[in-house]
Symmetry: C2
Subunit: 213 residues, 2 copies
DNA sequence: GTCTATAAAGAGATAGAC
DNA sequence: GTCTATCTCTTTATAGAC
């Protein structure tokens, strides 16, 4: 996958190959996307497409690698100067969700189609994904050790629950809608940490109790 | 999709077609699964497979319809005699998650491959899915109206967060592991309602504060 | 209900010219 | 860098015998 140019140079075909592939892979899934469709959307022939990649699977591989590189880099950088265990969770969720929803084609492809890779490419990407998830596990386990998270569940389960809360979003989120990535990140952080229910001592029964019958 | 026999009759090929198709669809995805592999795993020829279904897409359609029928029926039945808003959320989550993780091949196929349907079959299944999600939305909105859930987020966002927490599980859960469906359902209900963090007034600083340096 | 045989279309990928 | 032309393999699906 080519580096994204920092200058305001024109978008080259070499760049578009990757973004358009990610678009199609998210829309239709990796296997249902044909090189014919991809070439058509790029306005080049199939043969020209093979000037940029050796094989279709290289597109999926490149997208997965770049997806994991971006989210890992962003999260690591954001966490580097945050010390409080709860604040580290907030930072992690915000960074992960904003990254995922900003480059949603790329990340949805990684999350949902990664398992279609084969051989060494599969092994390498799975390793990178596991390394990233170990970061998430670490933030949660540290928060639990520090007494910021409850200990009525294992750290692994607490981490899986957080990944659930973050990752399923890519199956329904539509950029351009009213809900901005950061807003949603704040809501799920709030729910994950504090829960969605009204704290019982704050309930005022004379106001909130539902009408009987 | 054939009705599941209530008696202890032998498992027929007509039944196995559906369970084995769901297995393969979850393992490899709908498009990556070939009728050759399916026939091979069923120990019949491809031609014989077409005695049971008219086309490959009918398998996906039947699996999606049955998945939604089962989870809707189970949840509706369980909710029918539960009145408390919080208890209705507990019941919903438990029922949804236990159903999903028990028949995981079927439900994972529905959740992840539903969009590969086309035409009327797609429209019908999407309608059934939206009807089920309206049930979830209703339980959440009612709880919020009753004052059991906080109002700092919209009911739709609260419902989406809950679906996140429940549905991503099918991407990583492996039946037979140490974590039982009901246990995990209880954990995510707890986190959704009460949050994962330690309630601040219960923190004992002399015990829980992390060691400095 | 299951088979052999085959049709018909769609897929990934390459050769070699410009 | 992009093209035309083509190869080769895979895929879904059907016809018709047993």
């Amino acid at each position: 996958m080519p580096k994204q140019s920092g200058t305001k140079a024109a978008v080259t075909t070499a760049d578009r190959v990757w973004t358009v592939a990610a678009q199609l892979f998210r829309e239709k899934g990796y296997h249902a996307t044909t090189t014919r469709e991809l070439a058509e959307r790029l306005q080049i022939t199939r043969a020209s497409l093979y000037y940029y990649v050796d094989k279709k699977e290289d597109l999926l591989y490149g997208i997965c690698v770049e997806s994991l590189r971006r989210v890992s880099t962003a999260v690591d950088a954001a966490l580097s100067d945050v010390v409080g265990p709860t604040e580290r969770i907030r930072t992690l969720v915000c960074c992960h969700v904003v990254s995922m929803l900003t480059d949603i084609d790329m990340h949805a492809t990684m999350l949902l189609d990664l398992h279609h890779l084969t051989g060494d490419q599969l092994r390498e990407v799975v390793k990178a994904r596991d390394a990233y998830q170990a970061t998430v596990d670490g933030v949660i386990a540290d928060a639990q050790s520090a007494g910021a998270l409850r200990s009525s569940f294992s750290p692994k389960v607490a981490s899986l629950a957080l990944l659930n809360l973050m990752n399923w979003t890519i199956t329904w989120y539509r950029p351009g809608g009213p809900l901005k990535p950061q807003q949603f990140a704040e809501v799920i952080t709030d729910i994950y940490l504090n829960g969605a229910s009204v704290p019982s001592e704050l309930v005022d029964p004379t106001v909130c109790r539902p009408v009987a019958r």
